[in-house]
């Protein structure tokens, strides 16, 4: 990114030229990949020309003014279609920008398009998108991961230099790992959720996807910060891109939880992560075996909470103020038919599960119980950071799987086995590439740290990037 910024700064390239180059790449790649739901060619070129004018007049908005970005299609962009990969919102154009989009505009970043996802971010492969699957740029027969599969694939294929995604149970980190790019799930509350279509408000976070750790950190610095329009956003903690220091790893205590290296873990994934850990150790880090025993309950807890919150959040799609409407003689029938016509099968499944979990006779047994187990998980995670600085695990149990390989929804939910814990406990976590397997598929390593320790995460991630590729 610094190179693009330098080219713009020294007039070696205009924003229009850079945006045009990415648009050409999109035109070439999209027939195979399907990473975008909407490409805003005209809008992006218009924004690029404005950026060029600002630079010519010496009033660039930021060093990144004129560098384009892709945005996941569940993040509101005023006037630009935001479908959430759902038929229900096929023609929905938001009337306002999400705060994070506003942040991008303040920095002068032209929005090149809206990326594909699983419908309403419910899924781990983009196979649940109403607009078709996003294929993995490293192997077109495989998924890009999800739900931010479009953002990860677009960045991996050079269709955009960076992108925004959202992560509720692993939806940034898992596709980043599958596509060989870097993805951060920030601390809960570090980034505003205003204007981001809710899946599960107690877990959702917006985060950056990019090809390098530094670019990911730069993008995070643009979107982090408090927002009066999001009551869950945390007080001002300005984030600055750290100085990259390779010495700091000396004495760094890295927790290695045995539970993440057990049954079901692909051998080549394990080898790559262990090799990377050994590399960090050889540079002076101290590996500390730890236990995160409560991860055994993470997926079931996550599933209970996410379906409950989703069924409640999706109640707003009634066909009255926006979206799909199927005419009927009475309102209840109109709601039921509109929702039946607009939602895909996974969304309906989660609404059904969530309604069950929240219904009067099951609320205590499921929802309350899951909230309490969540407390135990959070305690377990935070206790580990009294012993160690960071925790390192594989991002996913396997590399990218084949399209159509996971027919059973419960099997699909297991994709989030190593990532859901960070959302449940609110801590930041990043996925960084750590090599490829024998089939040439990218592998990812996950680094977790305590609340608001993004700077530490980036520094460790930078070392991984230097030493483990």
């Amino acid at each position: 990114m610094r190179q693009l910024a330098h080219m713009l700064d020294t007039r070696q390239a205009t924003s229009r030229e850079i945006v045009t180059r990415y648009l050409e790449q999109i035109a070439q790649q999209e027939p195979q990949l399907n990473a975008f739901i909407t490409v805003d060619e005209d809008g992006a070129l218009l924004q690029a020309e404005e950026a060029d004018r600002r630079r010519a007049e010496g009033r660039a908005l930021s060093p990144w003014d004129g560098i384009p970005i892709a945005v996941k299609d569940n993040i509101s962009t005023a006037g630009l279609k935001t479908t959430c990969a759902s038929r229900f919102l096929e023609n929905y154009r938001p009337l306002f920008d999400a705060t994070v989009v506003d942040n991008l505009r303040q920095a002068g970043l032209p929005i090149i398009g809206k990326t594909n996802l699983d419908e309403f971010a419910m899924g781990s492969s983009t196979e649940y998108s109403a607009y078709g699957v996003t294929r993995n740029p490293h192997d077109l027969s495989r998924v890009s991961g999800g739900s931010s599969g479009g953002s990860a694939a677009a960045v991996a294929a050079g269709e955009a230099p960076w992108a925004l995604g959202t992560d509720t149970g692993g939806s940034i980190r898992q596709p980043a790992s599958f596509c060989g790019v870097v993805g951060l799930k920030p601390t809960y509350g570090a980034v505003s959720r205003y204007g981001v279509v809710a899946l599960a408000p107690s877990l959702d976070q917006v985060g950056p996807v990019a090809t390098t750790v530094e670019d990911t950190a730069i993008l995070f610095s643009l979107i982090a910060g408090p927002d009066r329009r999001d009551a869950s956003s945390s007080e001002a903690r300005p984030f600055q891109v750290p100085r990259w220091d390779e010495q700091f790893v000396t004495g760094l205590k890295i927790g290695v939880p045995e539970e993440f290296f057990g049954e079901g873990l692909d051998q080549e994934v394990e080898q790559a992560v262990r090799k990377c850990l050994a590399e960090l150790e050889s540079r002076g880090a101290v590996l500390v075996p730890i236990s995160l025993a409560t991860n055994e309950y993470a997926i079931d807890t996550y599933l209970t909470l996410v379906t409950a919150e989703a069924s409640s959040c999706l109640a707003r799609y009634d066909g009255v103020r926006y979206g799909t409407r199927v005419a009927a003689a009475d309102s209840n029938t109109m709601f039921s038919k509109s929702r039946a016509a607009g939602f895909g099968s996974e969304v309906k499944r989660r609404i059904m599960l969530g309604t069950y979990v929240l219904s009067a006779s099951h609320y205590e047994a499921y929802y309350e119980q899951a909230q309490k187990v969540r407390t135990l998980i959070k305690r377990d995670v935070l206790a580990s950071f009294e012993e160690v600085d960071v925790v390192i695990t594989p991002t996913t149990p396997t590399p990218a799987f084949r399209i159509g390989a996971k027919r059973n929804p419960l099997e699909m939910y297991l994709s989030d086995l190593f990532t859901a814990m960070a959302n449940l406990s609110g801590i930041p976590a990043i996925s960084v590439p750590c090599g490829k397997d024998s089939k040439g598929l990218p592998l990812g390593i996950q680094i977790m740290a305590s609340h608001f320790q993004e700077e530490l995460l980036f520094k460790v991630a930078y070392m991984v990037e230097r030493g483990c590729l």
Binding site: D300, D318, N332, Y356, T375, P409, L410, G426
Partner: protein, 100 residues
Amino acid sequence: MFDLIDRQDVIRMARLARLELSEAEIDQYQQDLAGFVSSGRKLQQVDVSAVEGTSHAVVVTHELRKDEVAESLPQDLVLSTGPDVSDGFFRVPRIVEEQE
């Protein structure tokens, strides 16, 4: 506490969720709910006595804003997204019975 899931449960949930389901979907979600209930059993084994629930991962104190009139989106713009609007309103099917 853990009932077996029968078709009537599924139909009741669908009604609560305002979701019209086909017969095939009812069968499918009956199976899915059953699978889900068995995974819920595992969570039941966890001892949570004396544990408070967590509803948000990071504790935030909510600050009340001043009760001031602020600018809002213009009415015609807001109505522009509606599938059926008339006279400054979103139109819906009749919800109150006409008096005889």
